[in-house]
């Protein structure tokens, strides 16, 4: 007698790698709306990053410093090349450029207060300088962006440094967006736009087009400020080696390199995930460019895009950055993606508000909607009350202090009296990818992929 083939009792669930749930959702969304998805924050995909590096602490061949007693300097000087008044920071951790418009006025004030207390700088964003941030931030970097929204010579004069923004890691080659919900009357007035429109910023500067023009533009800003203020140039990470060289040639005092993990308030998802290179690879290229031009130490380098921890800061410095800039980490410190917010001394749940946006705490990237459940990326008069400047400033101060303590802990363990003495030789990589991108040896070997012919 012939036996029937056995029937499976369970449903076989084999998810397609190419057409997984995420991809299917994407296709159905595209079919339903005929428009690309726009969202906030940075690349969510897994990338080689600073976690793939480790420090070689001191042992017999190196001598460590006592963790709590011996001095470890964190002072940082930026803009020493041409500016008469370079920026002096107490810590090498700065706050990245984020606009009033994308963030509430309360948040901008929190950033300024915390940064001033810890002796570091904050940066304006697309849309100009607000009175709140100038008053609260002791050291304020004023961005000159393609849109020139709210760009005002009086603010150039009262800034401490000027940052010419060429691009952003989340969207190199693209302009910013601010959807109608966030174009409140105050934001609209500052930007000279009609209230409530879906605002798309230009991606190219209106009055210059290439590196030779940029040199003249930088010269204009120097003449304008009597050569006092440092001029930064910020690039999104792509052809970083060449871009950094061109920015140096154009006369920048400081180069800011923003890797693809860098955040945004609103950008096309395809842009966030598919354009630009990881911070790790960009940082190495930027340092090589400065070394190639013999400009290391003359032109300072700030790196941003996915710097979250003190270890990240230490690794960035060891690879050759002079300072880091943090955006998303700062937002998370303020309460971004948190389950609750504080009002009248009470922790109140924000879960329903996340659900209304079709998301949950820990997964939210709906900055573009202006309906931030914890009151950070909003212009809504009620929502913005969910983050009071005092509470925000305290959280941020704690976060920055923690990062700085971690940074000095690692520096001391590596035997450095100054965090800027951390060096590439202190680092090794844990993965082949990170080793290749950072050009560091794979741990326990002397193999650097791509070097010495193999």
């Amino acid at each position: 007698m012939e036996t029937k083939p056995e029937q499976l009792k369970h449903i076989s669930r084999e998810e397609s790698a190419g057409y997984d749930h995420k991809t299917q959702d994407y296709i159905r969304n595209a079919a339903a709306h005929g428009l690309y998805e726009i969202r906030g924050l940075g690349a969510k995909r897994k990338l080689p990053n600073f976690d793939d590096l480790v420090f070689l602490g001191a042992s017999l061949s190196r001598y460590p410093l006592e963790g709590y007693r011996e001095k470890c300097v964190t002072k940082t000087l930026l803009g020493t090349r041409f500016a008469k008044k370079p920026i002096e920071l107490e810590i090498p951790i700065t706050i990245a450029g984020m606009s009033f418009g994308s963030l509430s006025a309360h948040v901008k004030e929190s950033l300024g207060r915390a940064a001033s207390e810890l002796g570091t700088s904050t940066t304006t964003g697309d849309g100009g300088m607000t009175q709140e941030e100038r008053l609260s931030s002791k050291t304020l970097v004023y961005q000159c962006l393609p849109s020139r929204y709210g760009f005002n010579p009086d603010d150039v004069r009262r800034a401490d440094a000027i940052e010419v923004v060429i691009g952003q890691g989340a969207k190199p080659g693209g302009g910013g967006m601010l959807l109608g919900q966030k174009v409140s009357s105050r934001v609209a007035k500052m930007r000279a736009l009609p209230e409530g429109i879906d605002q798309r910023s230009a991606c190219r500067h209106p009055d210059w087009t290439g590196p030779d023009d940029l040199a003249i533009k930088i010269h204009e800003l120097r003449e304008m400020t009597d050569w006092e203020k440092p001029i930064y140039v910020k690039v999104g990470a792509t052809r970083t080696f060449h871009d950094v060289k061109l920015a140096v040639h154009a006369g920048a005092d400081v180069i800011v390199v923003d890797g693809m993990q860098g955040g945004t308030a609103a950008t096309q998802t395809c842009f966030i995930e598919h354009v630009g290179i990881p911070t790790l690879a960009a940082l190495r290229q930027a340092v090589e460019a400065l070394e190639d031009l013999n400009m290391k130490g003359t032109v300072q380098l700030i790196v941003s895009g996915g710097i979250r921890t003190g270890a990240d800061v230490a690794k960035a410095l060891a690879m050759g950055a002079d300072a880091v800039a943090i955006g998303q980490g700062v937002l998370v410190a303020l309460g971004c993606n948190s389950e609750s917010y504080i009002q009248n001394g009470q922790h109140l749940s924000a879960e329903k508000d996340y659900a209304a946006l079709g998301t949950a705490p820990g997964f939210c990237h709906h900055c573009h909607t202006g309906k931030c459940p914890v009151g950070i990326t909003t212009q809504d008069a009620i929502l913005e009350q969910r983050l009071q400047p005092e509470i925000g400033a305290k959280r941020l101060r704690n976060y920055l202090k923690t990062l700085n303590m971690e940074l000095t802990t690692i520096a001391r363990a590596c035997g450095k009296q100054n965090v800027h003495h951390l060096e590439r030789e202190d680092l090794v990589a844990l993965t082949v990818e990170a080793a290749a991108m950072a050009r560091l040896p794979l741990a326990g070997t002397d193999w650097v992929p791509g070097m010495a012919g193999y």
């Binding site: 010579p153 150039v156 000279a192 009609p194 429109i197 798309r200 009055d207 210059w208 003249i216 009597d226």
Partner: protein, 229 residues
């Protein structure tokens, strides 16, 4: 002292600009004359007082850039970005202007007697521009507020992605940009053109001008607009 002369053949530009930012601001002089500009970039940038600057010759990039309340007259042609980001006051180019003239100007008046190059009035934010001749392509790109009067012709994609700025053109328009159309001239428009022409010292009949403004169809995301963005 009523006026002061800076000869750029012998004096560094930096001295001129620092004088304009500091001494001129104290009211030390009413007028500064710049000799031998020889196409130097960044002449009289960042003026912050009602001083008059006369440039006797051609200026390079960004002449009169970021001007606030000053008055600059260029007796020659001007390079890229003349009067860029002007806030108030006046910049008058007696010759021709290169690309991006009056870019992002928030206020004030830019007058160009001759032609202007590409992207004249790009990103305009409230300033007024009067061009005696023609303007190149992509002029008034993304212009947000303010007025442009073009006595000659306009190139391709005039007023592309225009917001609330208004353009008046007397001659031919090669093509209009996205979300832009010609609207009828109202009495207010005729008066505005007459006033701007008078300020610029140009004589044309306002009735010869067309009004170009935004259709306002791209102010909000619209899936049916396809690649018009």
């Amino acid at each position: 002292m009523e006026s002061m002369i800076f000869d750029l053949a012998t004096t560094p530009l930096r001295e001129l600009n620092q004088f304009l930012h500091h001494e001129a601001k104290t009211g030390a002089v009413e007028k500064v004359v710049v000799l031998n500009p020889d196409g130097a970039h960044n002449i009289a940038v960042g003026l912050d007082c009602p001083v008059e600057v006369e440039v006797k010759g051609h200026a390079g990039y960004y002449a009169g850039g970021m001007n606030k309340t000053g008055s600059v007259i260029i007796r020659g042609s001007a390079g890229t970005g003349v009067a860029e980001n002007m806030m108030s006051g006046k910049v008058h180019v007696k010759g021709f202007a290169s690309n991006g003239a009056g870019a992002s100007a928030h206020g004030g008046l830019l007058v160009i007697d001759g032609d202007a190059g590409l992207r004249c009035g790009i990103s305009l934010k409230g300033g007024d521009i009067v061009v005696g001749g023609s303007v190149g392509s992509f002029s008034a790109f993304m212009a947000q507020a303010g007025r442009m009067v073009i006595c000659g012709d306009a190139g391709d994609a005039l007023g592309d992605s225009l917001y609330e700025a208004v353009i008046y053109v007397r001659g031919k328009i090669k093509s209009l940009g996205a979300d832009t159309h010609i609207e009828p001239m109202s009495e207010d428009d005729l008066a505005a053109v007459a006033d701007l022409l008078a300020q610029a010292g140009m004589e044309h009949a306002p009735s010869e001008f067309k009004r170009i403004a935004s259709k306002r169809e791209l102010y909000h995301w619209n899936a049916d607009a396809n690649q018009e963005y």
